[in-house]
Subunit: 405 residues, 2 copies
């Protein structure tokens, strides 16, 4: 705690799932970390997330899809140990459910597409099973009789993000992270030479800005990462908000309606252990709009009824909106930026919960300047969107340099 | 205010639209009124109500329907003056919109039924107009092109219940009503002889009950009216909760999507003056359940989309549940009960907002023992459900006596 009166080794901007994970792991490695959150820790996009750990079900065609799959598989492998350490550190359970995922097709068109998706996964060596409708309904009897085909991804699990966030907050504090909530960053501050980061400027109660100095600043501000003042225009990353609406449901009869995550064209239903469910999610380009809207909620309810008629009896506990941090190629932005001292850990789009353990490990390695360059980092480079390295998804040698730049 | 240290002339139990209207009118007539509300004034069922003043659109077949129509037409006539007085007394506007109502049919079956309804209204001498789809869409261009027929009830208006409730609360306080919120009634208290009401017992902070004495107690506790302790079993009224779910919507583009109330099989959309809308309502027998549920919300959204596709862009501000006080014949319970001193003003089912001015006038006449017996009162008699007077909707001579019983 004596660290607090001195400059921290690193400042983390944003206390969502990524910022909290980075701060916790960095503090466990002995770094003095200050975390700045403009509102309340763990109450933004991460708080709305469904918590699927589903790299197999989400696998997509193309080069960016392949990068995301590799990131996702590695991070999914890390989740059980990450969850166990977190539970031990925080003394709370994080709701990891290892019950797998069913992807279902409701009609012939969807069934043909699902077949194509199954073949694609076969070609990648990903373990999935095609299930006939009767087999799917043996596993999940609440599925509609009209289901035509299902794909089981038995290694795609889920976690309860709200429990994870509460645990991370506690674990951060236990590990000595200095968490400053309701503390917006006024701007990033360069040193006198204008070449490297001096720290961040905070707005004082007197209206004047004060420097909080640190040699490293990690931007983990999600959809708001692109709005930080003080990032040189050419060094910014094109993160945009992608609106997602979800409904949080509760079965008054308790758990049992659904044991597995069920995904369908247009959405998913994720069970929690206590009879609660998350029904999500729309994908909408609406800027920073945070209000639930009729159209999206209607389509989610309609689709859920088609797939699982029993949802009709569930209570609606919440309508929520989250703003995913989208990037042009949907691959996150993890790596050293410019000016020197700046590290990006943002742009996780729909994969923030899944990719949190891996992102934290990658960033902590950067902070410690340890180990060889991770082969996945070039695809995540902050430089890949700039004119110099503008082939999305390609390997960028500039960004692949590991040492201090 | 000196009245407060003495016993009031009347106690009103329940500060919803009915209780507030009764208390306000009674206080204006010079009575010392204490109003007891177990939670907060105007935050129960009335707070969820859509506020349609629509006796013509809601006209129903049968004898009880005829009684309700008469009550509704009389109260609708009273609304403009009631609103004006209330606005003058409280200094706030209550959102009375005199733009009429369209009842729409979406398919041939609904069109045939709407034709039958139109003929029924013609037979009662109620002014409505049949509109062709093109005529309906001239009036409301946002209506779906698939509308088959519409019926216009140009005298069926609406009011904003939340504004009315806020105004009534203020008007009550201005008129000297002693409003005691968070004050549940422990029981009705009889006098020593057990023949007439002595007042109500309240739970004191020490856990002991204390008598609040008054010669008259008006029960305006809505769906909870049947749960009051101390009403002799034979003298109780069979009021039950009927769950209604509604959505409160807001057009980010401001007002203009809809000018009139639009009703359809299964629901309605009520515009406010400021670009807000109420989409309601389910009618469900689920006891005192107060949670929004998936099935009802889904059906409302689906139907609204069919009738008015533009709802898709509206924001959802609230999901609300109200418990309407239903009676076996859907006619309210207004009149003297047993023991002597007890007056019922409850059971308004879906018509509480509409019937508030008339109910207040009827109850105040009873308190003042003024005027001839209103010809509508027998149909509302609290005695009509008991063995002695068990022909629902019929005229009950016992209950028609006007003098002190």
């Amino acid at each position: 705690m004596a660290q607090r009166s001195q400059s921290p080794d690193a400042i983390v901007v944003g206390a969502g799932i990524i910022g909290l994970s980075v701060a916790w792991q960095a503090a466990r490695r002995g770094l003095a970390v200050t975390m700045l959150e403009r509102e309340e820790a763990g109450r933004g996009t991460s708080h709305v997330a469904a918590g699927m750990l589903a790299p197999v079900a989400e696998a997509e065609f193309g080069e960016a899809g392949r990068h995301l799959l590799e990131l996702g598989l590695r991070s999914a492998d890390m989740w059980p140990a990450f969850a166990a350490e977190l539970e031990a550190a925080a003394g709370v359970e994080v709701g990891l459910m290892r019950t797998g995922t069913l992807v279902v097709a409701r009609d012939e068109d969807e069934a043909r597409e699902l077949d194509r998706q199954a073949a694609f996964r076969d070609s990648l060596g990903l373990a999935t099973s095609r299930l006939r409708p009767s087999e799917a309904r043996e596993r999940e009897p609440a599925l509609a009789p009209t289901i035509r085909l299902a794909l089981e991804a038995s290694e795609d699990h889920s976690v309860d993000p709200r429990r994870v966030l509460a645990a991370l907050r506690r674990a951060c504090l236990e590990a000595g992270v200095h968490l400053r909530e309701r503390t917006p960053v006024a701007r990033l501050q360069l040193d006198a030479a204008g070449r490297r980061l001096a720290g961040v400027a905070l707005q004082g109660p007197d209206g004047n800005e004060r420097l909080l100095a640190a040699p490293r600043v990690i931007i983990a501000a999600g959809a708001w990462s692109g709005r930080l003042n003080g990032v040189p225009t050419a060094a910014g990353v094109p993160v945009r908000p992608v609106k997602g609406q979800i409904l949080r449901l509760r079965d008054p009869a308790g758990p049992g309606l659904l044991g597995r995550v069920v995904r369908f064209a247009g959405g998913y239903l994720v069970p929690r252990t206590d009879g609660r469910y998350v029904l999500g999610a729309t994908v909408e380009e609406r800027g920073f709009e945070l209000r639930p809207a009729v159209g999206g909620v209607y389509r989610l309810l309609r689709d859920a009824h088609e797939v699982l008629p029993g949802v009709s009896e569930l209570e609606i506990e919440e309508l929520c909106v989250g703003l995913r941090p989208g990037t042009p190629d949907n691959v996150p932005v993890i790596g050293r930026g410019s000016p020197e001292g700046l590290i990006w850990a943002t742009g996780h789009y729909r994969n923030g919960i899944l990719l949190a353990p891996l992102t934290a490990a990658l960033v902590v390695d950067m902070l410690a300047r340890e180990g060889p360059v991770d082969p996945l980092l070039p695809a995540c480079s902050p430089m890949r969107f700039t004119a110099a390295g503008a082939r999305p998804g390609a390997i960028h040698p500039v960004a692949a340099q590991a040492g201090p730049s």
